[in-house]
């Protein structure tokens, strides 16, 4: 039933893409495409949630006579797919709503409208597919559609480059996944997921193969999710696309990649060795810390958000690694806790990252400016946008009572289960990774104080920022909806956790204690004596005591308020240049961390006394991953290409020589053949 509905929605989306091709340049195209997309995604979201809540024990499998001829296209929606389907379509629906308004500012609609619905359809299909071919086909189709969207403003050479790097990395990942699935399917092609699952359950895979599958899956899915060191494309490609597409890529597509990883490693591969958790933990922790450090160094608002996506993906993978470790040691309860934390963070991140990208898009359309150094003071001109952006910032900084905190709190609770682990390596490693998680969270706080403070607070740093004005209602509506969801997910986590229970049960074979049982909507991961959190109460307390304070003050104290020039310690300077810039804000943290992480160097050129020239401070930073991993490969390819290119310029005689030599060589083979 759900499968049929979802496939119908996908069909509608594909049809919408065709409409987009037809009506791309027409003014009616925008409302038509986004409207249809909105309807389709909302319906798909509803059916997915229904499937998740109902969560039948055996999900029916639908086989269409397309795809691999002798296999057909298998579609199946179990609890896992249902959850990710819900995430995908929720984000998609809000993106469509936002696009209805934001699309008005699009200068090349004919390069967006056809591909956006195709992109949505691709993401839906990946989650639904139940055979290797369908999975990879929709996976790569998704990449392809998003590539076209990245190239929407292709005249900008940066975007063209971004698109290039993006698609190459994407197909690199796809090839890795292709090898993975080929390995799982075996030489005689058992491409249906059900078949692979059987082999996995039968324990038909030896350790070496499991290792290979794990590594390849980590490469394949990780390159799409943006794990360090496969992240280089992400901060290029995500900002290049139109903002609602960036939101989709950052907020939703990375989740589809996570789905791929979970599906392959948790579901298809079957039991995995205990240290597999360590690998995932290490990579996840590294991505979390490095991602947010990168983000702290950015001045481009959208690129900053993209880097913070890397951080959040890292957090999810840390939780997944914990789940793997617990599961391989038969600790279902702890595994369920960790896995639920991962799922919750997937949902939360898709919510607040979309919200933040929408905000960035609003700023972009209001000021045509992505560089925070040229923004500022927007809180006065775009009150609604800035308030909602603030909500997003609080949520992503993992501060109570919003949703970001809940998932990180659960992750910490999972970390605290580590003493029960039998292996020393894990016991030592898990708390260390927990520390990295905490570090990432704290740095995220700094990062988003910086982002919001520089872009929205203070005094405008450019004419564009000064003349900015609020964006249209639909965009604000989309952002408001997401903000509300962030709050709800923050104060009512218990219901979410219960909804996710079937997923955890399906994947790790255990579930967290049911949360309705606990009174006052508290969440209790293990037992109340151990830990508990009540977002609702915290929220109410803060609200109550804040209003109490306000009330008391306004009753007892003077209400007099006088507006005056800023005091600024006695010597205020009118020009806004005296404000702290993003660069200067990041300086202390740069000195502490980046000097080792990015080999950041500061150079001060101080003109001699009497010289009117201003002093200059130049900071140079290197991305170690790029320097040590990608640049060498690229230069090696270039070098080989140059050497080999001589073959194009030989004389005919030399070509004959090549023929002659290969003939002689083969004859020798024959002569020496036993």
């Amino acid at each position: 039933m759900t499968v049929v509905v979802s496939l119908a929605c996908v069909a509608v989306l594909l049809a919408t893409a065709v409409v987009g091709v037809a009506a791309g340049r027409h003014s009616a195209g925008r409302p038509l495409v986004y409207g249809l997309g909105l309807v389709a995604t909302v319906v798909a979201f509803g059916s997915a949630v229904a499937a998740l809540v109902a969560s039948p024990a055996t999900a029916p499998e639908l086989v269409l006579p397309i795809g691999l001829p002798w296999l057909g296209a298998h579609f199946r929606i179990d609890a896992l797919s249902a959850f990710f389907l819900a995430v995908v379509n929720l984000g998609a629906a809000f993106a469509c709503l936002y696009g209805l308004g934001y699309g008005r500012h699009e200068e090349a609609p004919h390069r967006v409208l056809p591909f956006l619905p195709a992109f949505l359809a691709g993401m839906n299909l990946v989650v639904m597919a139940a055979d290797a071919f369908g999975f990879l086909l929709s996976w790569e189709f998704m990449s392809l559609a998003s590539w076209a969207l990245v190239l929407a403003h292709h005249r900008d050479p940066e975007n063209a480059h971004a698109g290039y790097v993006y698609l190459v990395m994407a197909s690199f990942g796809t090839l890795a996944l292709l090898l993975t699935l080929g390995l799982l399917a075996g030489p005689d092609g058992g491409y249906a997921f059900s078949a692979m699952r059987q082999v996995g359950l039968g324990g038909g895979r030896e350790a070496g193969m499991a290792t290979l599958v794990l590594v390849l899956a980590l490469i394949g899915a990780g390159s799409k999710a943006g794990l360090v060191p496969l992240h280089v494309w992400l901060p290029l490609a995500h900002p290049a696309a139109p903002s609602h597409v960036s939101a989709l890529m950052s907020g939703v597509m990375t989740k589809v990649a996570i789905y791929g990883f979970v599906r392959i490693v948790f579901d298809l591969l079957g039991p995995s060795p205990w240290w597999s958790g360590m690998v995932v933990l290490a990579i996840g922790g590294a991505s979390a810390v490095l991602g947010v450090l990168y983000a702290l160094m950015q001045t481009d608002l959208k690129r900053l958000l993209a880097y913070s996506t890397i951080e959040n993906v890292g957090i999810v993978f840390v939780a997944l690694g914990l789940a793997l470790a617990f599961r391989s040691n038969g600790m279902e309860l702890a595994a369920a806790l960790a896995f639920t934390a991962a799922l919750l963070h997937v949902l939360n991140h898709s919510l607040f990252k979309s919200l933040l990208f929408f905000g960035a898009g609003a700023v972009l359309s209001a000021t045509h400016e992505r560089n925070v150094e040229r923004l500022g003071g927007l809180i006065h001109r775009m009150p609604a946008t800035s308030a909602l952006f603030l909500v997003g910032c609080v949520a992503i900084s993992a501060l109570p009572p919003l949703n970001g905190f809940v998932s990180e709190w659960l992750a910490f609770q999972a970390v605290l289960q580590s003493p029960e682990l039998p292996q020393w390596g894990l016991r030592i490693m898990v708390p260390a990774v927990g520390g990295m998680l905490a570090l990432a969270a704290a740095l995220a706080g700094a990062c988003f104080v910086r982002a919001f403070g520089i872009a929205f607070l203070g005094r405008p740093r450019s004419a564009a920022a000064e003349t900015a004005h609020e964006v249209d209602r639909l965009s604000i509506a989309a952002m408001a909806g997401l903000g509300l969801l962030c709050l709800l997910a923050g104060i009512l986590p218990g219901t979410l956790i219960d909804t996710l229970a079937p997923v955890a049960e399906l994947v790790v074979g255990g579930r967290m204690p049911a949360q309705q049982a606990v009174d006052w909507l508290t969440i209790v991961p293990i037992a109340e004596s151990r830990s508990s959190y009540n977002g609702l109460l915290v929220f109410l307390f803060i609200a109550a005591s804040a209003s109490l304070a306000v009330l008391a003050i306004h009753r007892l104290a003077s209400r007099a308020l006088r507006r005056a020039p800023a005091w600024d310690c006695g010597f205020p300077v009118p020009t806004p240049n005296t404000q702290y810039t993003a660069g200067s804000f990041a300086q202390p943290i740069r000195r502490v961390f980046a000097s080792m992480a990015f080999r950041a160097r500061e150079r001060v050129e101080m003109p001699p006394p009497g010289d009117p020239r201003p002093a200059r401070l130049t900071v140079e930073m290197h991305d170690p991953v790029w320097d040590w991993l990608y640049a060498p490969v690229a230069s090696a390819v270039g070098w080989i290409a140059d050497r080999m290119n001589r073959l194009q310029f030989l004389t005919i005689r030399r070509y004959l020589g090549m023929v002659f030599l290969s003939l002689v060589g083969l004859l020798m083979v024959i002569a020496l053949w036993p």
Partner: protein, 220 residues
């Protein structure tokens, strides 16, 4: 008759190989052409002998073709071309003559090593013939590789095809298809080469392939 047949055939085929070596050794175009003509004559003889030995009359036709075209027509016309293009100067071989000869030796050894693996029940005549034919083919190819001059490359190619004809003739009872195809291919090859040499002369004043190499597709 066995022995005598065998010996003569062997002698002629060996003579072809020898002549191929002589061609490798030559470094003047005219001399090269003359040796080539001789090569063709010997070929014709051996084919004719095969025709007699296998009493397969159609092979006489092949022999005639070989004699007519390869020993007369082609050398004379190539003479003409050379004269027209005025390139009767020395041809620089790539590696000196010595190494080339050594390489040729190696090739002959290789072809023997390959061919003598054949089970002797395929009767020796064919076996030996094949060995020689293969070496002639390889030597022709070697010649094409070690000469810088278009005409000598063509000659090398022709000697290579002589080797083919030798093999074909050695193949007892091989249907007419082969001879026709051989003649046909020689014909086409010759015509097209003629056209090309003509055109090439029309465009550049030499057929030395260096001139052609200037026109690599993708000049920097």
């Amino acid at each position: 008759m066995g022995d005598l047949t065998f010996d003569v055939a062997h002698m002629l085929a060996g003579g072809l190989v020898l002549l191929s070596f002589v061609m490798l050794y030559q470094d003047r175009l005219y001399a090269l052409l003359n040796v080539y003509a001789l090569h063709a004559v010997v070929l014709a003889a051996s084919v004719a002998w095969q025709a007699f030995a296998q009493d397969a009359p159609h092979l006489y036709v092949t022999a005639a073709i070989a004699l007519a075209f390869k020993a007369v027509v082609i050398p004379t016309s190539l003479h003409r071309i050379i004269r027209r293009l005025g390139i009767h100067r020395e041809i620089e071989t790539v590696g000196g003559v010595g190494p080339t000869m050594l390489a040729g030796m190696g090739l002959v050894a290789l072809s023997l090593a390959v061919m003598l693996r054949i089970t002797p029940e395929a009767e020796p005549l064919a076996r030996e013939d094949l060995a020689f034919a293969l070496s002639v083919v390889l030597l022709g190819l070697l010649m094409m590789v070690t000469r810088r001059n278009a005409v000598s490359q063509v000659v090398g190619f022709m000697s290579l095809e002589n080797g083919l004809v030798l093999a074909a003739a050695g193949a007892r009872g091989m249907p007419l298809v082969v001879e026709i195809s051989v003649a046909f291919s020689i014909l086409i090859a010759f015509i097209v080469i003629g056209i090309f040499l003509f055109r090439i002369r029309e465009r550049f004043d030499t057929v030395d392939l260096h001139a052609l190499d200037r026109f690599r597709g993708e000049r920097r």
